[in-house]
Each structure stands twice: as structure tokens, then as C-alpha cells.
């Protein structure tokens, strides 16, 4: 069955979401994936637009889309479609039993692994951070021997950021895991597995309970279960009679794993087929239309046909764009990306400059229908649309818009292929 209505290349958040949208509208959808998609290790939250180009925090991300630069992907999609996309995402999370919270029109401030706050838009209930600002006692919980989360650093930074009348304390839970040279370091995933067990649950509650006062919120690393549901959160909140808030964290982050599982589950229920390890190496474009794409493995090339194609292969990190000295290319349709020949002009001298990075904004240029354009401004193929991180014109890191651009452009592309504007 190498022919589909919509063929999606890439199974990160934009590829999976586009698949869900098209499959919901009755299309036969196939995903060609090479690797699991960087979504798996990401924070699992939907940042839509956190800061303006000038670095001012955004209150209403959908409204602020009206002011973005014309080359920004949001300028091509428009805020009405953006809102539809985000609401559809919320609907999917609801149906899958892992409802996200938040509104497309309001940013939330969520704690990070170092005790700062970052703006985000739609988050799982495990990151419902509003309570942090309302509650008088904050208890930061770390785990002895767990890597990459330092409760004392979080506490210190929170004290700088929050009202001084709050009590902010830390407590380290003893895991009592076997520990030594012959065993693996302990990550958030290991702790999440432990909290899913009866023994882990009981031990956590016993150790933490004495430190809970009236009106306490717990801040902890993302360890509240590996699957897209709220079983661990709900049972702990019940037994401890307080709220728990996970911070956004470093890979391997279980929050991204939960989101991946949820989107895959939704897509598969609707008959989306995923061909794994399918390395797409090229495309056949005839008379301005893409006929097929070609995969290659250790055996032979295979040709996959479709009426419509969505390119969701990601940026340089995900392998969707290939960087060489003085050149940047999209490798499947072989689109040359216009960059300065002198590599030093790709970036500001200061890596952590207080403005967007130049290299971060490089990507495939598209027209207002997300159809890729050559360096000369000609359509590459009229039945191909580019979504997510491959797109040019935005710096997700600076403006906090990564998963938002992915969802919103994916929605626009898939819905347009299904005859919706």
C-alpha cells in the first residue's frame, strides 16, 4: 500500500498532528519516519509565542501573532487558523484522557528546572503552575542520586523571583535505589517508573507528608508517570492533600514521551500508518507536482506515492535541514536555502544575545499556503507543504514558539489538503 491520500514525512509533533487532522477528515494517511522525532525528548508543552521581537513578554499569544514579521510562519497562517489548531489540540488531549490546560489567548508562567519561569501556552495538568503564585508555602522536592535536578538551586532562584513573603523550602526524597559503579545513573525516567509502583508511591508519601503545611504546593522534576494520564498526579495530590507542579526539564524528559504516546495513540486509532526507519532520500516532481518520494535503506530504494505531501522533517537538529560550510539545504526536495557564504555571518558574536539568533531563523521559505519556494521564489511543487521546524523566519528558542509553530502550521497544511481554508 505505497499510495496514500496524504503522505507525511517526519513523525515529530508537526507530522503527527498533521496526520491526526487529515485522518480525522477521512484521508488515508501514511507517515514515513526516520527516528522517533525530537518531540520524544522535549518538554511536552505547547509554547505559542512567549516574547515579542523586542523581548517583551506576551500576554495573549494569538493576539500578538498580528504583529509578527511577515516572514514568520504565523503571518502565513493567521490567528483564526492558529486558534482553531490549538483548540483542536486541546480536544485531542481531552479525547485521549490526558487533557491539557490553558487557553490560546493567555500565556502561563511555568517553573523551569533551574527555578526560573518561562512563558508557555498549553500545558499538561502536571504543570498547572497558577497555584505556585497563589500559595504561601512552596516545597521544592528533589531526589537523592537523581541527575539533572538540583532542588537547592531551584529554591535559591525561586526566592529571587517570587514575593518575599512566601515560604520556599526544599526537601530531598531518599530513593534507596541500589547505587554503584555497576548500575546506571538515576534519571527522571527511573524515578517516574518508581512512582508508578505501589512501593514508590507509599515511600514518597511517607517521606513528604510531614513537610506539608496547610496551603502548600510541591514543585518537583517531571516524574509523575511515563504514560499520558494523570493517575500518579491524582493519587499523590489526594494522599498529600496538596498540589504538585512539574518543572519543564532536560532530556530525557518524560513529559515529551507522554505527548508522543498520546499523539501516536490518537493517530493510530484513526488508521494512520507509520513506516518506521524509512529514510527519505529524494522526491520525484513532474510538471510542478510531486508524484512520489523515495526511501533508501540497506536493501533497495522504495517509492511511496500520494496526492499530497507534508514535509515535517524538522530543522538541523532533527535532520530536516543539512548544514555544510557556507551552505544550508533541504535534502529531500533539494531546496537551497539562501545563507551568507561566510559562516561567521550566520550568528551574533554573543551566543546568548538578547535578540533572535540569525542561524535559528534559517529554514525553507514558503508562500502563504506553506508551499516551498526555491531561492528564486518559484514553487518547488504545488502539492507539497512544509510545516514545523523546517520553516524559515522564526527563532523558537528566543520567542518560545516551538511546538506552537509546529501545531499551527501542521493544522493549516492538513486542513488545506482536506479542502478547508
Amino acid at each position: 500500500m505505497k499510495k496514500s491520500d496524504v503522505l507525511i514525512i517526519g513523525n515529530g509533533i508537526s507530522g503527527l498532528f498533521a496526520a491526526c487532522i487529515a485522518a480525522d477528515r477521512g484521508k488515508k494517511v501514511q507517515i514515513l519516519s526516520y527516528g522517533a522525532g525530537t518531540l520524544t525528548i522535549g518538554g511536552g508543552i505547547i509554547d505559542v509565542l512567549g516574547y515579542t521581537d523586542e523581548g517583551r513578554p506576551v500576554t495573549d499569544p494569538v493576539q500578538a501573532m498580528g504583529q509578527v514579521n511577515p516572514t514568520h510562519p504565523y503571518a502565513k497562517v493567521g490567528s483564526d487558523t492558529a486558534k482553531k489548531a490549538l483548540n483542536t489540540f486541546l480536544k485531542i488531549t481531552n479525547e485521549e484522557g490526558f487533557p491539557y490546560i490553558g487557553s490560546p489567548n493567555k500565556n502561563k508562567w511555568i517553573p523551569t528546572a533551574i527555578g526560573n519561569f518561562k512563558p508557555s501556552c498549553l500545558v499538561p495538568r502536571t504543570m498547572d503552575s497558577d497555584v505556585v503564585f497563589k500559595t504561601s508555602n512552596i516545597l521544592v522536592i528533589g531526589f537523592d542520586t537523581m541527575k539533572d535536578f538540583y532542588a537547592n538551586m531551584v529554591t535559591k532562584n525561586l526566592k529571587k523571583r517570587l514575593d518575599s513573603d512566601k515560604s520556599i523550602k526544599e526537601f530531598t526524597v531518599t530513593l534507596n535505589f541500589e547505587y554503584g559503579k555497576d548500575l546506571r545513573d538515576i534519571s527522571a525516567m527511573d524515578v517516574a517508573r518508581w512512582l508508578e509502583t505501589e512501593q514508590g508511591h507509599v515511600s514518597f508519601v511517607e517521606q513528604v507528608k510531614p513537610h506539608i503545611k496547610k496551603d502548600t504546593v510541591i514543585i518537583l522534576p517531571p516524574v509523575l508517570g511515563l504514560d499520558p494520564n494523570y493517575k500518579v498526579l491524582d493519587s499523590l495530590e489526594k494522599d498529600l492533600s496538596c498540589s504538585l507542579v512539574e518543572v519543564s526539564s532536560l532530556p530525557p524528559a518524560v513529559t515529551g514521551t507522554r505527548l508522543t504516546k498520546m499523539l501516536n495513540s490518537y493517530a493510530k486509532k484513526r488508521g494512520v500508518q507509520v513506516i518506521e526507519k524509512a529514510h527519505v532520500v529524494g522526491a520525484k516532481v513532474v510538471n510542478g507536482k510531486c508524484k512520489s518520494v523515495i526511501t533508501e535503506g540497506f536493501d533497495r530504494q522504495r517509492e511511496f506515492y500520494a496526492d499530497q505531501f507534508i514535509l515535517a522533517t524538522g530543522g538541523i537538529y532533527g535532520g530536516g535541514i543539512i548544514a555544510k560550510i557556507g551552505a544550508l539545504t533541504e535534502p529531500i526536495f533539494n531546496i537551497a536555502i539562501d545563507v551568507p557564504k561566510v559562516q561567521t555571518e550566520w550568528s551574533h558574536k554573543q551566543l546568548f544575545a538578547d535578540k533572535k539568533q540569525i542561524f535559528a531563523q534559517y529554514g525553507v521559505s514558503v508562500d502563504e499556503n506553506l508551499i516551498p519556494l526555491t531561492a528564486e521564489g518559484k514553487q518547488v511543487a504545488s502539492n507539497v507543504k512544509v510545516v514545523g521546524r523546517s520553516l524559515a523566519g522564526y527563532d523558537f528558542c528566543y520567542e518560545k514558539s516551538g511546538n506552537g509553530v509546529a501545531l499551527i502550521t501542521a493544522y493549516k497544511a492538513a486542513a488545506a489538503f482536506c479542502g478547508e481554508a
Binding site: 530525557p252 500508518q273 526507519k277 529514510h279 535503506g297 536493501d299
Partner: protein, 404 residues
Amino acid sequence: MAINKQHAIDPDKCTACTICITACPVTAATRKFRGPKMTGPALTRLRKLVSDDDPMLDYCSNCKTCDLVCPSGVPISTLNMMAKNEYYKTHPRKSKADDMLAHSEKMGKLITALPLGSTFANLGVSIGKAFNMMGAMGITKDAKMPSYASESFISKFKKIKQTSYPRKVVFFSGCYINYNQPEVGVDLVKVYQKNKIEVAIDENFVCCGSPMVSGGYIDDARVNAAKNTAILKAWVDKGYDIVTACTSCGLMLKQEYQELFDFAGMSEYAAHMYDSIEYLAKLNDEGSFNTDFTPINKKYIYHAPCHLKVQAIGRPSMELLPLIPGIKIEEADAGCCGISGSYGFKADKHEIAMKVGSKLFARIKDSGADLGVSECGTCRLQMENGSGVEAIHPLTVLRRAYGL
């Protein structure tokens, strides 16, 4: 643009993104394993500088889930296998069973050559278990071991009368089908004949070497690879396609040989290699697949073996089996079964293997399916062992649907 296959063994392509850790079933089951990123690419870089001393490598089951999820195309599991083989050059083996499990063909040959050999061997396995001889050898007493057939597939094959057709394939049966489940090989011939394909076999084929590589006997695997490569290339030169009905044999012959060894002709024959169901799916794409089925009113649950998933061919069984009228079939989609060929038979790995497979077992039980379906022989054994539900090869389902 072609993939430079020789270049595939490059740990520096790893960006340390940790995706493999999130997906590795063994990492999830035990903290005794450092995880694919660490034992694979990270330590491979160090191994270039210092001598290797990493007993944790033994925990990698070579299921290849890490390779499947890696966005950078790093052959993580193969890096692990190469390091494991180096390790055993200078370190003693943990268990006496390693040799036996890695050389399953030797055992199969011996047993099926003796009169009543299989009866005594199967009896031997149960007596061995009863007296805990298996335990002394390092084989778990808790797993259901493969039993031996009274007649090998090659012997059965010779008795089958085939109609000659222009489309011809050579079937690499592999040890499991040849010595343990010859009926699956017969199913293949019957189903292929129904689809106007003539099946040839070659008695000179030897074990593909997959269990040898996983067990740390790469030098033995190299000898077998040299033999098989020459034979496979010769069949392809004669115009035959190659099919396998065991996904581990298939993966070994077409991919792992190219990653591990350097014999002439490997990529040429690999271009003509197919999984047995994939080959039928190709016929379906061409419009020549025979769908003259009688209805099957049963409920099946399909488990995709890890070694099939990593072949980039999708789920050909889930394309073809739903074409049978009346059939109810769903994919388990519950990850690795845990057995990984011979991994789960080892005494010190059995518990890990059962833990890895526990999600799949629960899924099979909850599905209320009459039968499990999977392309891999040891996956089927593990499915039966863990869930109590019988499991069969998709070729067997097709044969029954054809009423053969």
C-alpha cells in the same frame, strides 16, 4: 543520493540526544544496563583510546529499538555487539549456555539427524529442567524452550510437488523453521504456490549468524556470512528473489552483514531480499495477490517483531491479513516481547525479558484474541509463554484462509 553503508559505523554521528534511552526496553526493565547511548556511541569513542572493560554490554539484547528511534542513523546496537565481541576475547563467559544458544544450528542438526532425536531432545529439555541441569548451564528453568520437530523443513520440502512458475524465489528458512517449526516453511511453499510463485531452497545455506553475533561469537558469524553471501549472490544472479520468514534472519542477511563484514556481493543480493509477507504485499501492490479466501471468523492480535520494525517495510502483515473476510485483527503495539532471540532463555536475563514483555502479555490477554500472530519464531514462543495464547506465523493464517 545513496547511504554510505560502510560509514554507518560512526559513533560521532550520535548527538547524545537520549531518544534511545527513552525507547530502550532493557533500560526500562533494569538499572543494571547503562542504556544504549552510553554503552553504544559514548563508550565506543573511548574504546578507541582505552581497552574495554564493560560487563554491562551483556545486557544489550540487540533488539535494535535504539536504532529504530535514532534520528541520526547511528547503528547503536551494532556498536554494542561489536564491543561485546571484543569484550569476550579477554573475559570469561558468565554462563555455559552462551555457546549452545549462539550455535542453535549445531544442536538442531545433531538432534534431527538422530533417529527419534527430537523426541529424546524434547524429553531431555523437560528432564533437564526437572533436575535443574538447565540451571547449572545458565539457562532459565522458567522459560518455555523451543521444541524440536521430528522432521526438518528441508526434508519435508523435498516431498512437496510444486508447479513451476516464471516467478521464482529462493527461501532462506533459517534454523528455527528448519529444526523447530518446519510447518511454517511448508505454509510458505503452499501460500506462494497459490500466488504462482515457485520456491527453491539451498541445502548449503548455514545459520545466518544472528544468535552468534548477539552471543559474542562474531568470528563464527563471519564464517557463516562468507558462505551465505556467496550462495545468495549466486541465486540473485540466476534471477531469483530471496525471501525469509524469520525477521531476524532477514535483518542479519541484508543489514547486519553489511554493517559488520566486508564481503563482495552483499549489497547486490540485499536489493533482492524480502520478508515473506512483504513479498506478498508487493504482489498486492502490483495487483497480483491472490485473495481467493474463505472467511475466518476469528479474532487475532498481531505483534510486530522488533527486527521487522527496523527493516523500514512498515507492517506488511497488517496490510494483507485484514483482506481475509470475517477476520478481526488488531496490532498489539505494545513494544518488545523481551525474548530477543536467545536473550530471554539465559538465567540471568529471564526476569528482565519477562518484565520487558509484560506489557505485550497484558495486551494479548486483554484483547480476548483467539490467536496471536507474529513473524518471529521466538517472539511467538514468548507470546505463548507470557500470555497463554497460542501464536502463529502470518503465513499460517494465509494458508488456513486459502483452505490449504
